[in-house]
């Protein structure tokens, strides 16, 4: 056990400031961390301002770990974690929490699966008992009817998010266009209908034994709790759960994106253009500059693409830019919706002009400062809640083996220079890309043509 009591948070005092930041206190979310003999890592953050508590478990497994022919499995498994365990058979998980005034949920990404509960501080023991039971005793009650039922529920989730969602089909095809076959990010998290149909109880058991072990999990408890008490309870509830096998994750081979253009017809009124570039993973040196570049392009009313496409040019109704830097790799996207009847090439040309300008001249001092301040303020708002802090502690721990990445992230953001922006635009955004056009049915002429762009 290595307790790490740190300075009390609230360097929030430095908030946007940042421009003229005096030597401010460092941003800290104080925590203790230790690891049980079975490998479960426990992080506790005390915040006594409101009598609430959250538990937040990250399993280091996501859709990227799925086998061929079983896409969507990690997320389907997440659903099965709520279907009862030996001492808390279905439907006790939800019912007991609700009876204690608490709510719960979970989510799956390419990289990880998280599970969280939120409720009055009095519900802490119940949360821990339930989490321990489904980590240690899930399989005795697992059967085909549970898998069949949640398979149906997940297929409905897919219908809601993809088949019945305007432009939803993009989420289905984009991963496979951006990443080479076999890459962990080359299929959608939700999976295909065929693969969901193929998932079996045996798959569930194998997956559980391989990935749902204490040594592949981190538990954050945050809120109106005493760290000592939490540590004792967690040992009591989780201590006898056996360690699982060590997990090896081969790093995917490096690759380059080739210029690709795809057109999809959908039941939509307005055509929409998606441009996607291969970028970098979240911990890479260029990740903060890409985040700032996204803000400069379309993060505010004065964003360059927002101005040129929506306000000055009046050729688009909306435009977004985002940097999606994940654990192993990343991509950068621009999404712009055309005004009624306009062809997407009109938008594409303006986007390329703006990228060219940003690469050539860089952002102004004011643009850069606004971007850094706004991103920083938004980050600080995201950790106003115990839930936000708990998830962030888990994310940092998985990413860097240390839950305290708060100030480092702000420092990295603050260090981004105009030259960095020019460099990342040239390196990543004036490079081969995947162009997806979604056009109203019967209007393929509105689609963007493939453009080869070199700096």
């Amino acid at each position: 056990m290595k307790p790490r009591f740190l300075l009390v948070l609230l360097a929030l005092a430095t908030l946007p400031a940042l421009a003229h930041a005096q030597q401010a206190a460092r941003l800290r979310v104080p925590y203790t961390i230790d690891t049980l003999p079975n490998g479960l890592t426990l992080i506790v953050h005390e915040d006594h301002s409101v009598p609430i508590v959250t538990t937040n478990v990250w399993f280091h497994v996501g859709s990227g770990d799925e086998k061929p022919g079983r896409t969507g499995f990690a997320h389907l498994f997440e659903h099965l974690m709520f279907m009862g365990s030996e001492h808390a058979p279905y439907p006790q998980f939800d019912r007991l929490l609700e009876a204690a005034g608490a709510s719960n949920n979970g989510s799956t990404t390419e990289d990880r699966t998280n599970y969280y509960e939120f409720g009055p501080s009095s519900s802490l023991r119940l949360m821990l008992w339930l989490e321990a039971d489904r980590l240690g005793w899930l399989l005795p009650t697992m059967d085909k009817p549970k898998v069949d039922l949640q398979r149906d529920v997940v297929k409905n989730e897919r219908r809601e998010g993809i088949e019945n969602q305007p432009y939803g089909m993009v989420r289905d095809v984009q991963p496979g266009l951006m990443y080479p076959a076999g890459h962990p990010y080359s299929w959608p998290v939700i999976g295909s209908m065929a693969d969901l149909s193929a998932a079996s109880v045996e798959d569930v058991k194998d997956f559980f034994r391989r990935y749902y072990a204490p040594n592949n999990a981190t538990l954050v408890v945050a809120g109106d709790v005493k760290a000592d008490e939490v540590r004792a309870l967690v040992r009591e509830y989780f201590g006898e759960i056996a360690r699982g096998p060590a997990i090896e994750r081969p790093l995917p081979a490096s690759f380059t994106v080739r210029d690709t253009a795809v057109t999809l017809e959908d039941r939509v009124q307005l055509a929409r253009l998606y441009l996607n570039w291969h970028s970098v993973k979240r911990t890479a040196a260029d990740a903060p500059a890409l985040q700032v570049a996204a803000y400069v392009l379309a993060g505010s009313r004065t964003g360059r693409l927002t101005q040129s496409l929506v306000y000055d040019g009046e050729i688009a109704t909306t435009v977004q830019a985002y940097s999606d830097a994940k654990r192993l790799d990343g991509d950068f996207g621009v999404v712009a919706t055309a005004r009624p009847g306009l062809a997407l090439d009109t938008l594409q040309t303006v986007i390329d002009q703006q990228l060219q300008r940003l690469a050539a001249d860089g952002p102004t001092v004011r643009e850069l400062e606004q971007a850094r301040n706004a991103i920083e303020a938004s980050f600080l708002r995201s950790i106003q809640t115990v839930s936000g802090k708990a998830d962030q502690l888990n994310e940092y721990y998985y990413e860097r083996g240390d839950p305290d990445g708060f100030q480092d992230d702000l420092d990295r953001l603050r260090a981004v220079s105009a030259a960095d922006i020019q460099r990342v635009v040239r390196t990543y955004l004036q490079a081969p890309r995947v162009t997806i056009s979604v056009v109203p049915q019967g209007k393929p002429a509105l689609a963007a043509t493939m453009k080869k762009v070199t700096p």
């Binding site: 908030l15 006790q92 529920v153 989730e157 219908r159 201590g239 039941r267 009313r301 706004a374």
Partner: protein, 477 residues
């Protein structure tokens, strides 16, 4: 077992004694739930009479300033969307600054400032780091008191809104909501039209009309401020007073409309179908007139609705999602808007089980009416509502939302404690009584948006009631 105890003894010596009786087979006994400690609200008035409520919260150096102006979309009159568009235009050019300069300055300060409407109020919301509060309030004062409604800004935003209205036709949920409100609240009722208006009303928006409406709708006599965060009441009063204390009405306020049209009460279930050819799911919306928040049945209705369709374990979700696998989720809710709003059950279901889903939904509604809920279920529903309250006061924004919501009904914050007491007093008989009185088992307005070629026959065979087909382009006009 012994190995575990040894391990515990090594790692946490005091625990073995304290928890010797641990039995994994039983859920842990929980301590008493924490007492609700409500934030302290300081009330005052600016010299021009504007009410100010301040809640100091010094945990994080952020301040939330929410201003409400009673009225909102209820004042739209014959031009749906007028109020919400007026609010949208406030954060364009104002106080001699063009929209870009204004937005750039806000972002530079790390502030967010938005203006919008509910059906019953305008809401302007500022969230800002403590150190930038004064500068951000200057901008908020410009936005509230000196909006330009510049011709070029209006023309651009009008085009963007027209496009957004066009896109509603793509979205089955949007179509269901539009249809539902227009049917449940007949023409003349303030909740009849979409707060965003329609294509025709949007085309009529212009600078002159907006200025005239703003002058009569956005008036200080209907304004209130809610300030929550890293600030003391005296300082908040000074800062807000300096910028809003001399704000005076430019024109006679628009009279609050007298409500003469009542929500539609069906004699029997009535079905409306909207075609979305090829849809993978059907969106179902089942509704009825809602209930006044001032009803003595309010707490019982909240508990009943929690059991019917609000919580994950609710009967509708347990049945349609967790037993049948028809949907990803289903929920029911009362819209407690002041007039009041509607009751609705909403879900998206697989196309081939649309009729079966309707059967199951009505089965659950009738079940709550026909038999008493058991004590465990009742206790769970009550706890889920009452014990969750402290968590609804976590951030400055949460506290502001609570204050604003209560204020719409003239209720003080202390009424939250009374509400909890009322929830704890709800009986199984109360749940059954309010289910019988308010849930639409036989008089529902049922809207289904889906692939009619696939679902029409099944719905017709249910003989729920008269069926009318609506045109998507007309509903989303």
């Amino acid at each position: 077992m012994i190995r575990r105890m040894l391990a515990l003894a090594l790692l946490a010596p005091c625990l073995a004694q304290a928890q010797a009786a641990f039995d994994r087979a039983k859920p842990p006994t929980l301590p008493a739930s924490p007492a609700l400690v409500l934030p302290t609200v300081t009330s005052s008035r600016l010299v021009n009479g504007i009410a100010l409520r301040v809640v100091p919260q010094h945990e994080v150096p952020l301040v939330q300033v929410t201003m409400t102006v009673a009225g909102g979309s209820r004042l739209d009159g014959s031009q749906p969307g007028l109020a919400s568009f007026t609010a949208r235009m406030l954060t364009e050019s104002a106080g001699g600054k063009d929209a870009n300069a204004l937005q750039s300055e806000l972002a530079f300060l790390g502030a967010t400032l938005s203006a919008g409407t509910t059906w019953d109020a305008f809401v302007v919301s500022l969230n800002v780091p403590r150190r930038s509060l004064g500068a951000a309030l200057d901008l908020m004062a410009d936005v509230v008191q000196r909006p330009a409604f510049a011709t070029a800004d209006v023309r651009r935003q009008r085009a963007l809104r027209a496009a957004a209205i066009l896109q509603r036709r793509d979205q089955p949920n949007a179509l269901a909501t539009l249809a539902h409100n227009s049917i449940l609240f007949p023409a003349g009722h303030p909740y009849h039209a979409s707060p965003d208006g329609d294509s025709a009303s949007t085309a009529r928006l212009d600078s002159a009309g907006l200025r005239a409406f703003y002058a009569r709708a956005f008036v200080p006599s209907r304004a209130k401020f809610f300030v929550i965060g890293d600030i003391e009441p005296a300082e908040a009063t000074t800062l807000i007073g300096a910028r809003f204390g001399r704000w005076s009405a430019a024109a006679q306020p628009i009279a609050m409309p007298v409500i003469t049209v009542m929500p539609r009460v069906n004699a029997a279930n009535t079905v409306f179908l909207i075609d979305k050819p090829g849809a993978a799911q059907s969106v179902i919306s089942i509704g009825a007139p809602g209930v006044s928040r001032f009803s003595p049945d309010y707490a019982a209705l909240v508990v009943m609705n929690t059991l019917l369709g609000e919580s994950f374990s609710s009967r509708l979700n347990s049945n349609l999602r967790e037993t049948k696998g028809y949907t990803y989720g289903i929920s029911s809710f009362f819209d407690w808007s002041p007039l009041p709003g509607a009751f609705r059950i909403g879900t998206g279901v697989r196309t081939d089980v649309t009729d079966s889903s309707l059967i199951e939904i009505f089965r659950e509604v009738k079940s709550l009416q026909e038999s008493l809920v058991d004590p465990t279920e009742l206790a769970r529903g009550k706890a889920y509502v009452a014990l969750a309250v402290p968590g609804e006061f976590e951030t400055n924004g949460d506290i502001a939302r609570q204050l604003v919501e209560l204020d719409a009904f003239g209720l003080p914050l202390t009424s939250v404690s009374e509400f909890i007491a009322r929830v704890n007093a709800v009986t199984a008989g109360d749940v059954q009584r309010v289910a019988r009185k308010y849930l639409p088992a036989n008089r529902a307005t049922i809207v289904v948006v889906g692939d009619l070629a696939q679902i029409r026959a099944g719905i017709t065979a249910l003989k729920l009631g008269p069926i009318t087909e609506l045109d998507a382009a007309s509903v989303g006009r």
